[in-house]
């Protein structure tokens, strides 16, 4: 009834989760002992740890164009390395801030009596999506560098807009046909 690969996969997933639990057990105990009783969920800081003008420059190609204008290979290499490092630190900080948002939420709601399954599932999915984006960004920056990532993001954005436009056009055409069909019958 249950395939061998599925059963083995489930067994491995369970063992990995237990490993995580064992590793996190001591961390949680430490946190319980030392966590200050700070007001939570009102703290909107964290994501804005980096000034916006600074963040905008990480993925911008302006600085790269300036450095490549110097025609110094050494400077170009140094710039690429430094910029990649800064971008990776930014992704790490952002993902930590997102994790903190969710941790604060779960700490505030785990004792709540009127917790809603649908809302929690939706939030968990949103969180998973954001963490996935951060993971993909991390890998992309490692592989291609921040400037190319911006290009990829712009390309993905344009593609997404085109898809939305195509979907809307398709919807309009389908609705028109249905309307005509209804009229002729």
């Amino acid at each position: 009834m249950i395939g061998a690969p599925t059963a083995i996969l489930l067994g491995i997933v369970l063992l990995l989760l237990l490993l995580l639990l064992a590793a996190r057990g001591s961390t949680v105990a430490r946190e319980l002992g030392s966590a200050p009783d700070l007001p939570m969920l009102d703290d909107e800081a964290g994501l804005d740890a980096c000034p916006p003008e600074f963040v905008a420059r990480i993925f911008s190609s302006d600085d790269w164009e300036f450095v490549s204008g110097t025609r110094s290979r050494q400077l170009q290499g140094l710039f690429r390395r430094e910029r990649k490092l800064v971008a990776l630190v930014w992704v790490d900080q952002t993902s930590k801030a997102i994790r903190r948002i969710m941790r604060e939420h779960t700490e505030a709601t785990r004792q709540s009596h009127d917790l809603q399954f649908a809302t929690e599932t939706k939030l968990a999915l949103q969180y998973a999506e954001l963490m996935l984006i951060c993971g993909v960004l991390f890998l992309a920056i490692q592989a291609a560098g921040p400037q190319r990532v911006r290009g990829l993001a712009l390309y993905a954005g344009t593609l997404s807009q085109r898809l939305t436009q195509a979907q809307q056009n398709f919807k309009t055409v389908t609705t028109g046909r249905e309307f005509h069909g209804a009229g002729s019958s």
């Binding site: 009834m1 249950i2 369970l14 639990l21 939420h105 779960t106 399954f117 939030l123 949103q126 911006r150």
Partner: protein, 253 residues
Amino acid sequence: MLSQSIWWASITLEVLLLARAIRGKLAFRYPVFYFYISFIIFEDLISFLVYRWKPAFYSYTYWTTEFLCVLIGCGIVFEIYRVGLASFPGTARMARNILVVLFIVAAAKGLVAAANDPRWWLEAGTLELERTLRVMQAVCVAALVALFLFYSIPFGKNLRGILLGYGFFIGMRVITLTFFIGGSDASRQFWGYTYSASYLIALGVWCIHLWSYEASPAARQAIQIERHYQRVAAATQRRLHDARTYVAKAVGS
């Protein structure tokens, strides 16, 4: 010789575990778990006696007690849920909903499989039936562990030990049974020993974590618990949305 050693080591650890539980009054705190351990000792003794005096009945005795063990094991999962989430009604509600969803999915899958292959129930051996039940247990334990991790539920040493040991035993049982069913005679011997060794490891984990009673760390009171859930959820949703916009803006603008 090896199997004899494992058998005697298991019996010794089980008796030790039970003795420590009675001495430290842990048996009253985790009754289902200690009933399970007592039942395994009883199973070992009965199997030994039947094997010695009525070998023809050994197979029936073994499988009957093994399936009773699986059923009591479900009780352990319920005890972990009950004790672990006693102070966390919100997470307990999530756990109930997730387990109900899992049960519905499993029942639907079972019905579909039975409709496609009605002879499965007749042809499936005891091993395959046990694997199916163990997989269901593994899914339930995995869902609970994921929930405990997601909501950062603090554990006492005792409950963590029960969960780690039993979860490890179930995970290994699923893996070894799968290889055992599809393996050759030579590999079956290896997987048989692996299974026995994994049970011994689980007993070791239990002995370490359940040597004496240790109170669960008191959960930090929910911050401003009087706050309405809807408000908290809405605030989190807004913050996650802001985070998404922030990332998109930084990369795409």
